[in-house]
Symmetry: C2
Subunit: 325 residues, 2 copies
């Protein structure tokens, strides 16, 4: 089979949502297999349809069990859903085997659900790029909703806003001092807050506090984050959470914010790809290229400072700085 | 005063370790003030003398109090010491004001101690670069030891191995499941382990477990991490910790590993600087340059995939790929 045939065959299998091909394809993304690029290129035009929702928050707030309940709700309202867990503490972690086991324990082999965890280290291409590519693949496979579970902001090098159109920040009552310090970062991210484990004491207070904080905060692009509450003993909470997510999605459409959002995300992805190419170009040359070796010698020897070295390496080939600022 | 004069004056004040100039200079680094670059360039030749020690570990293991006790020990053996805290939960956080207060509470206005915290977000130039530049400044100011306190691996975008020559990983007994998942990452980093709060129950076991893990692990560059234990009730532990750090420093010299280490760190810094220049070049052009805008339009419209767009943006000006792999 020619390479073009094989590309077309794989792309077709992905569009048909063949689970084995999906799993293999994500592994190829994780390994940064260059022969997979043509498949992604051929799928690209058919992406951008899925609702991509980020689920983020500190360790221990129960993100994964919340995700499980969201899956159940989405299936009940007849939406297909894929989960990408970028969280080393996620029970979904450990590869698709555990994901499969969880699916089986849930008693289904439902083709409308796909769960995949990504380790948070060791990707040659960087976890942020691998996550984006995986989300795009699941989008191409026609899942209505892609949930991306990550640990809290600043803790993992995936900025959920680069991937998702709606970001849910999950918190629990009495977060403790450590989490307070992360809160500022989480506030910048949240389109929807979810007070999970809301059967714990202090949950009502936590929710009221959040509502108040949100009321005093400055809306971002005209949106004031919604505050919801969920718990295993409060099944209605999940419906409220999903409806809040959908409200934000409608808001993006009504205010024509989806275009600018996609543009921001595309720019960030292109930038990440450019940085990676700079890295892939430079690192081997540190061994093989006398110019780079000479510059390194001088930096280590104290006769050339690192910014000057970086400038020289970008000089010859560097694009001239734009004239406008 | 001409700019050259002002550069020389500032550089001289830094070499003389004038605290006000040091504090102002770090603020200029944090703000990425371009007029500070000549000062750093003129100081560069006089750096590389300080022993730079990373102190890292999960939240809540008592890194900051350990740092305080290390300061006391270092002063007792007549070493000057600067601390750079890159940890949002550090009590040193909140800028130099709090750092000053802690210094005053310690009852000294000791010119042999300097403490500075860096917020972990919002640097235009990136926290990793700002941390390196701050460490270099304190090195130029002649501090014998620079301690860099960061939260555990994978949690903050500063890789301590890019900055420090010896990395101490701080743990406590009974770390809990969440931390176990981070352990693999911490193992890769540690030159010295420190079981802190070693008066807690389970400390002996924790230490024995670590010793065993280290014994079974593969030494990195011929070095097997040392395991120490500290607590507020065990003053001898701090001395043991410092001696272990010095043992690793001597090992680097004896095995001639310091050169390769500096080379790796220089390469990584140059790479980070190049990436930043790519970013500083691209982002304004997303508004002003018709070529970039056109490519973004096509990516958002689904007719051009992001890798192809990145390739085109690097094509004209890109350095030809090296011929060797």
């Amino acid at each position: 089979m020619s390479r073009a045939d094989s590309t077309a065959t794989t792309a077709r299998a992905i569009r048909r949502r063949e689970l084995r091909t999906l799993a293999q394809s994500i592994s190829r993304i994780e390994q940064d297999d260059p022969t997979f690029a043509p498949v992604e290129r051929s799928l690209y035009g058919g992406t951008g349809r899925a609702t991509v929702v980020g689920i983020t928050g500190p360790l221990g707030v129960g993100k994964s069990s919340l995700v499980s309940r969201l899956i159940a709700h989405l299936r009940a309202i007849h939406r297909s859903v894929a989960v990408v867990a970028v969280d080393p503490s996620s029970p979904f972690s450990g590869g698709s085997v555990l994901g499969d086991r969880i699916r089986m324990e849930r008693g289904d082999r439902d083709a409308g659900v796909f769960i995949r965890s990504m380790a948070s280290r060791g990707y040659s291409g960087g976890i942020a790029l691998a996550t984006r590519r995986t989300v795009r693949l699941l989008d191409a496979a026609g899942f209505d909703v892609v949930l991306v579970e990550t640990v809290g902001s600043g803790q993992v090098d995936v900025d959920i806003r680069d991937v998702a159109s709606t970001s849910v920040v999950v918190l629990i009552p009495h977060l403790g001092d450590e989490v307070q310090t992360l809160k500022a970062g989480l506030f910048e991210i949240a389109d929807v807050f979810c007070v999970n484990k809301s059967d714990l004491p202090g949950a009502d207070q936590a929710r009221r506090d959040l509502v108040e904080l949100v009321a005093f905060g400055t809306p971002r692009d005209g949106w004031r984050p919604l505050v919801t509450a969920t718990s295993t003993t409060l099944p209605a909470g999940i419906e409220e959470l999903w409806n809040s997510i959908e409200r934000h999605e409608r808001f993006l459409d009504e205010k024509e914010l989806r275009g600018p959002l996609r543009r921001r995300q595309a720019l960030q992805e292109i930038l990440d790809l450019m940085k990676r190419r700079v890295e892939q170009d430079l690192l081997p040359r540190a061994q093989s290229d006398p110019e780079v070796r000479g510059l390194l010698d001088r930096v280590v020897g104290g006769t050339l400072d690192p910014p000057s070295a970086a400038r020289r390496l970008l000089k010859g080939p560097a694009r001239p700085r734009s004239k406008t600022t």
